[in-house]
């Protein structure tokens, strides 16, 4: 029971780090709070749902499509909203309100277009994708269905979501630490003014980071029907709060911190579910407040955020 809980917690934790990853990137680079993060996740979930319902596209195949589509949405959105915001008096505070407005717009549009009823995708789809992938290797043979790890069986959807999240984190890590644009992004993260004065086009770098952040949320959304329950236009708020809990537990601007935060969050969530289930919903909020008060820079952080 304990081993099962811990391992399930790690799988969920990896997924939660994917959910928080984009928010962390946007906050780290622009110092703005994307309160509409969860709503982009919701849009990603609907993309997966409609592609599956209309033409039976496997959710795993939706991932690259979701990434490309939301990068294309994110770039113009950045230029419409953020430069004007950053020029204001108190951008960090105003960003909360601005993106709250955006989240209302997205939620309302989703409600009008998709309707308010709850949607879901059968969990077996991801298992089929996993089995198909494993069977590509010569000699490997795998049935689609629950996956057995260390003598425990887990729904294949959890394993696929966990692995895909790990892959996304690695990609972001490579982008930030092994490419030129990533180095520029980290420079903007460290000090926006100084980056500007050394000739970095901060708006271009930020726009790309913003678009990637939104696209990562959408990828998280593709797995949402399997990990977070059924999808509705109103699911965004909860996803945003969860993302905040995850990135605050980890630390800002550091993808590894987000993974740590996600795993701490996922494991404690699973432990609460198993042993204290009626209070499990309280966890993200309490964890968030506790970490903010005790160690406001996050578990791996150095910056200080005290007033």
């Amino acid at each position: 029971m304990l081993a099962y809980t811990l391992f399930a917690g790690i799988l969920f934790g990896l997924y939660f780090s994917l959910v928080g990853l984009g928010l962390n990137l946007v906050f780290g680079v622009m110092r703005i709070v994307n309160l509409a993060h969860g709503d982009f996740l919701m849009l990603g979930a609907y993309l997966a749902f409609w592609l599956y319902t209309l033409s039976e596209v496997n959710p795993v195949a939706v991932i690259p499509l979701a990434f490309a589509l939301f990068v294309l949405i994110g770039l113009p959105l950045y230029y419409i909203l953020v430069p004007r915001l950053l020029a204001a008096n108190d951008p960090e505070m105003l960003s909360i309100i601005l993106f709250f407005g955006l989240s209302q717009v997205i939620e309302a549009l989703a409600g009008i277009v998709f309707g308010r009823s709850e949607r879901s995708i059968p969990g077996g789809e991801l298992g089929r994708a996993l089995a198909g992938f494993v069977n590509l290797f010569p000699g490997a043979k795998m049935e689609s269905g629950p996956v057995e790890i260390f003598g425990q069986t887990f729904p294949a959807a959890w394993v696929v979501a966990g692995l895909a999240s790990l892959l996304a984190v690695l990609c972001l890590y490579v982008y930030l630490y092994r490419t030129r644009l990533g180095a520029l992004t980290r420079a903007v993260m460290a000090d926006r003014e100084e980056a500007l004065s050394t000739g970095i086009d901060t708006h271009r770098v930020s726009a790309i980071a913003f678009a990637i952040g939104i696209a990562l949320a959408a990828i998280g959304g593709v797995f949402a029907p399997f990990m977070l329950g059924s999808i509705t236009p109103a699911m965004g708020v909860e996803a945003t709060v969860t993302s905040f809990a995850v990135i605050v537990i980890g630390s800002l601007g550091n993808p590894l911190g987000t993974v740590l935060g996600g795993i701490v969050y996922g494991v404690s969530y699973m432990l609460m579910q198993s042993y204290l289930s009626s209070w499990a919903n309280l966890l993200p909020y309490l964890l968030l407040i506790a970490i903010l008060l005790v160690r406001p820079s996050g578990l791996l952080g150095r910056q200080v955020r005290l007033a």
Binding site: M93, G101, L293
Partner: protein
């Protein structure tokens, strides 16, 4: 004893607003709507006390409102308290929550807002937990039909509104209000100038909590049947914040104008077509931040007019 500015604010804004809200029920039959106007007029000023004078944006402001509503209900149901005494319990519950959450004031900017939002959701989760059914009725809601008295409740709501408006007028004209704004602009300079930063912030924070607590208590009394989601609904925080910002904070008139315009619009189109309302509302909020970040009153202030 009172400064000229305080008297001018009181005469130009507080007295007319309270008088109008007091006589309107005789001319207009939808009393619930009028009551809701009073509630939001008060809550928007509560946000104004904190955001307008200290710069902290309480994104989970509804936590105090709900704590007040439940403080009132528990006092009525378990202690058999008369409604006016139960209102004191409502204020006390909100203040107690304010004290518990006081450490959040150590956080700055967005971190405070997010922690405050999380705190209000945590309080909702605790109160609506089925394990606490004996005390709070858990998720099944509260019924206070025994003390139902809308006329008196409306009167008390007006009293809370008047007190809140006078407090904001006081902040605008007193050294204490100046001290708070000095802290907002620069913490270290203010503290070098001899301002007790922690104490000043604490007073503003508890005042802001108290306003919402009393309003929540009056709300519980007026509606008398409600669920945890009713009195902890995020729209209370959001509406109060947006109304206050739309009109312009750290003025007395701004939040009032915000409530009259936006809550008026809400009642005209929001009730019949909530989805389109949410859409328009979202766009309105975004336009506000992008084009008029200091609120409607800043249009007058830019021309050198001292808005009350």
């Amino acid at each position: 004893m009172f400064s000229a500015r305080f008297l001018r604010d009181a005469a130009l804004v507080v007295v007319p607003v309270v008088a109008i809200m007091a006589v309107l029920p005789s001319f207009y039959s939808n009393h619930l709507l009028l009551f809701n106007f009073v509630v939001f007029l008060t809550l928007a000023q509560g946000v104004n006390i904190l955001y307008g004078f200290t710069g902290y944006l309480p994104f989970g402001y509804v936590g105090f409102f709900g704590a007040g509503a439940y403080g009132f209900s528990v006092a009525v149901l378990h202690l058999k308290a008369p409604p006016l005494a139960a209102l004191v319990a409502a204020g006390a519950a909100a203040c107690a929550l304010g004290l518990v959450l006081a450490p959040l004031l150590r956080l700055s900017g967005a971190y405070f807002s997010i922690a405050n939002l999380a705190a209000s959701l945590a309080v909702l989760q605790i109160i609506s937990n089925p394990n606490l059914e004996d005390i709070t009725r858990g998720p099944y809601g509260i019924s206070l039909s025994g003390v139902f008295n809308p006329t008196l409740a409306y009167g008390m709501a007006l009293a809370v509104l008047a007190a809140t408006l006078l407090f904001v007028a006081y902040l605008r004209s007193s050294n204490f209000g100046l001290a708070l704004q000095a802290i907002r602009e620069n913490l270290f300079s203010a503290s070098m100038a001899g301002i007790d930063v922690v104490r000043a912030r604490m007073i503003a924070w508890l005042a802001c909590a108290l306003v919402a607590g009393f309003t929540g208590g009056v709300f519980a009394w007026y509606v008398s049947v409600f669920f945890p989601e009713t009195v902890f609904g995020a729209e209370f925080s959001i509406f109060a914040i947006v109304f206050a910002l739309f009109g312009g904070t750290s003025t007395l008139l701004g939040p009032i104008v915000g409530v009259v315009i936006l809550y008026g619009v809400y009642n005209v189109i929001g009730v019949s077509a909530p989805q389109y309302f949410q859409l328009i509302y979202g766009f309105l909020i975004m336009a506000l931040v992008l084009f008029l970040p200091n609120g409607l009153t800043s249009l007058l202030q830019r021309r050198g007019i001292d808005v009350p």
